[in-house]
């Protein structure tokens, strides 16, 4: 029997367990210590670990991300929290030019075991600058690993793996999912990086997704079931490396796939999944792989525009019916 906890608590537990286990792990970011985290993910950690290991930074994303890189090159295992990934854009120089490239540049002399984590994706009516999705951006960069997951148990196990990983790992969470509850195992466990997970099995269509769009897929699958369509829902959990084998296995059974991805459509996770699946499972596909993305626009504030922008179960169902060639 496990315990029911929130995503926020699961992530906090992962960090605390790893900090108890390994003195070289520390957490830094804006409001992580005295305020207990902008979204309370690090609640109680300052009390337990003290200001040496739970560190409030000024608002200086480029600077403290770089301090994370340097500390990682010199034997520590930093966890760098971004209040949201939107602000990590300031730090992309350090993430992309340094964290991702240190091993290659130094021909293996220096590795960079740093974790960059924070929420990604739209979170209500936050407008253009605060609503972006980063899996595709970071997933494009060789040298990085990228995780995006909101299931409490998986997120906890993946974050623990990320902290122990010897490569730089970017973790995408979700502001509006921190309160999501789920069952986590009682005992210590890890979830390996690079494995997708089937969240619902089905036989007629494979829905591939990650982060909070998995919930949109599960809702769509529920609706489709009422119409006699059996949807399999796969949560990628890790964006880089991509677990193509699990997707191909599923398509062999369902022969159809829709990718649901909150990123913008061009050059994104959905494009990559569609390419890989058509390459490796072409003979099993009975229809082109389709995708449902956020709109190819910036996300404005008004509620009507947010609704128009985001994937939702109706849009997913429409895409499913198209690849199944059934009337909407």
């Amino acid at each position: 029997m496990g315990r029911i906890i929130t995503l926020r608590e699961a992530l906090g537990e992962a960090m605390s367990e790893e900090m108890r286990r390994d003195e070289s792990v520390f957490l830094m970011g804006e409001e992580v210590a005295e305020y207990n985290g902008a979204y309370k993910v690090s609640k109680g950690m300052l009390d337990e670990f003290g200001p040496k290991r739970v560190i409030d930074t000024p608002i200086t994303e480029l600077g403290f991300a770089g301090i994370g890189v340097g500390a990682a090159m010199n034997g520590l295992r930093p966890i760098v929290e971004f209040m949201t990934w939107n602000f990590a854009i300031l730090a992309f120089d350090q993430i992309v030019n340094n964290a991702a490239k240190t091993l290659s540049q130094s021909a293996g002399q220096f590795n960079c075991p740093v974790v960059f984590r924070g929420p990604s994706g739209a979170a209500g009516q936050l407008a253009q600058q605060h609503s972006q999705t980063f899996e595709s951006w970071m997933g494009n960069v060789p040298g990085l690993k990228v995780i995006s997951c909101i299931d409490p148990a998986d997120a906890k196990g993946l974050l623990k793996s990320a902290i122990r990983d010897n490569d730089p790992v970017c973790i995408m969470e979700s502001e509006i999912m921190y309160g999501l509850k789920g069952e986590v195992p009682e005992d210590e466990y890890l979830v390996p990086i690079g494995q997708a997970r089937v969240r619902r099995s089905g036989t007629d269509i494979t829905l591939v997704s990650f982060n909070k769009m998995v919930l949109v897929c599960l809702d769509a699958a529920e609706e489709l079931a009422k119409e006699g369509i059996s949807a399999e829902v796969i949560d990628l959990r890790t964006i880089r490396p991509l677990d193509i084998a699990t997707l191909v296995e599923s398509v062999k059974k369902t022969n159809r796939m829709v990718v649901v991805d909150e990123s913008w459509p061009m050059f994104g996770v959905s494009s990559e999944v569609a390419y890989q699946v058509q390459k490796d499972a072409f003979d099993y596909l009975d229809a082109p792989v389709r995708r449902v993305n956020a709109a190819d626009t910036s996300l404005p504030y008004a509620s009507t525009l947010v609704d128009e922008y985001l994937p939702n179960p109706e849009k997913v169902i429409r895409a499913v019916k198209e690849v199944m060639y059934v009337q909407a």
């Binding site: 804006e30 409001e31 005295e34 608002i59 200086t60 407008a127 605060h130 709109a295 626009t297 525009l305």
Partner: protein
């Protein structure tokens, strides 16, 4: 009676109209923000929402000391600055309500008002991002050979971003007509100024670049006005940037969702006793050139304007969903990916 006679002796430094202008804009901002908070609690306003209550004297001093053609750019705590720059309360409230009649058609919300015709270059949501942008706006003024400047505003938290140091250096090297204003309200979310740097007198940062830099009492519109007037004169003479650290206080939490437990009650009470609107009101009434009835009439007018703004916002339509695809490119037939 002796009391009144005593007060009658306080002489005002500026014209009656000047004080009434300050009183009007500060009161408008205060009432507008109070209505915003109410509307937020009614879920008519959504998303991140940061109000300006406590900081109104800065807007007042800017209004009187600047030319209309001077540009201004600030962060997300911007409703008051937009109103000061001439944005209509109707359009601002409608924006907060996410309506098509908003100042940016419901597309920006609380953090992003813009008003090109009045050279209001907007509210920016990324801490520190507007510092180089304001520097660039000033660069363009110099390039075009105007005598206008750009006011570039940011918080104490933003003063730690690298963008500030890079901008200060270029602005001073190239003698750009930019007035940097740090609104130091002593907190960046839950982080007090003294936890973000050893340099807690933020104006001193300017000295590292030889930028003339001064602290200013931001609870008094007169002092803000004088500091800005002096700085603007220096800038218009082509001598390059100026930096004012205006000390102020926000009475509410960082945003509507912040209970602000990191501040003591005593501290907040201390600043509320320094309320810029109360101070101004006492000063005006103490002069005996303005009657209480005149101030009451201003308040009444503002109350009506804010009521009207809420009604306007309530009755306005939401943007049509097709608006999602407008204003992304100047190119009219841009080929969006639609599946």
């Amino acid at each position: 009676m002796a009391d009144v006679a005593e007060k009658a002796k306080t002489k005002l430094k500026y014209s009656k109209e000047q004080y009434l202008e300050w009183y009007h804009i500060m009161m408008l901002i205060r009432r507008f923000e109070e209505r915003t908070l109410l509307a937020y609690s009614q879920q008519k306003v959504r998303g991140f929402c940061h109000v300006y209550i406590g900081q109104e004297a800065i807007a007042a001093g800017l209004k009187s000391a600047l030319k209309p053609e001077d540009g201004i750019v600030t962060a997300y705590r911007q409703h008051g600055i937009a109103l000061m720059k001439g944005a209509s309360p109707n359009a601002c409230m409608a924006e907060l309500f996410g309506k098509a009649t908003g100042i940016v058609k419901g597309k920006g919300g609380s953090m992003h008002f813009f008003l090109a015709e009045n050279k209001y270059f907007g509210g920016n949501g990324i801490v520190g991002a507007q510092i180089p942008i304001g520097t660039g706006i000033a660069f363009a003024e110099k390039y075009k050979g105007t005598h206008f400047l750009c006011v570039t505003m940011f918080g104490d938290g933003a003063a730690r971003q690298g963008s500030l140091f890079e901008s200060f250096n270029m602005a001073m090297t190239w003698k750009l007509p930019v007035l940097y204003i740090c609104e130091n309200n002593f907190y960046a979310m839950g982080t007090s100024v003294n936890r973000t740097s050893n340099v807690t007198d933020i104006y001193k940062i300017g000295h590292a670049f030889d930028i003339p830099s001064e602290p200013v009492d931001g609870m008094d519109p007169e002092k803000v006005h004088e500091a800005i007037e002096k700085a603007a004169k220096h800038i218009r003479e082509g001598k390059g940037p100026y930096f004012l650290e205006i000390k102020t206080y926000r009475y509410k939490g960082h945003s509507v969702s912040d209970p602000a437990r990191y501040r003591s009650k005593e501290e907040v009470e201390h600043y509320k006793a320094l309320d810029p609107i109360e101070i101004l009101r006492d000063r005006i009434l103490g002069s005996n050139v303005v009657t209480e009835a005149e101030l009451d009439a201003i308040e009444e007018e503002i109350k009506d304007a804010v009521d009207a703004a809420v009604e306007f916002a309530d009755n306005s339509p939401l943007p049509d969903p097709s608006e999602l695809f407008t204003d992304n490119y100047m190119q009219e037939d841009y080929p969006f990916i639609k599946d």
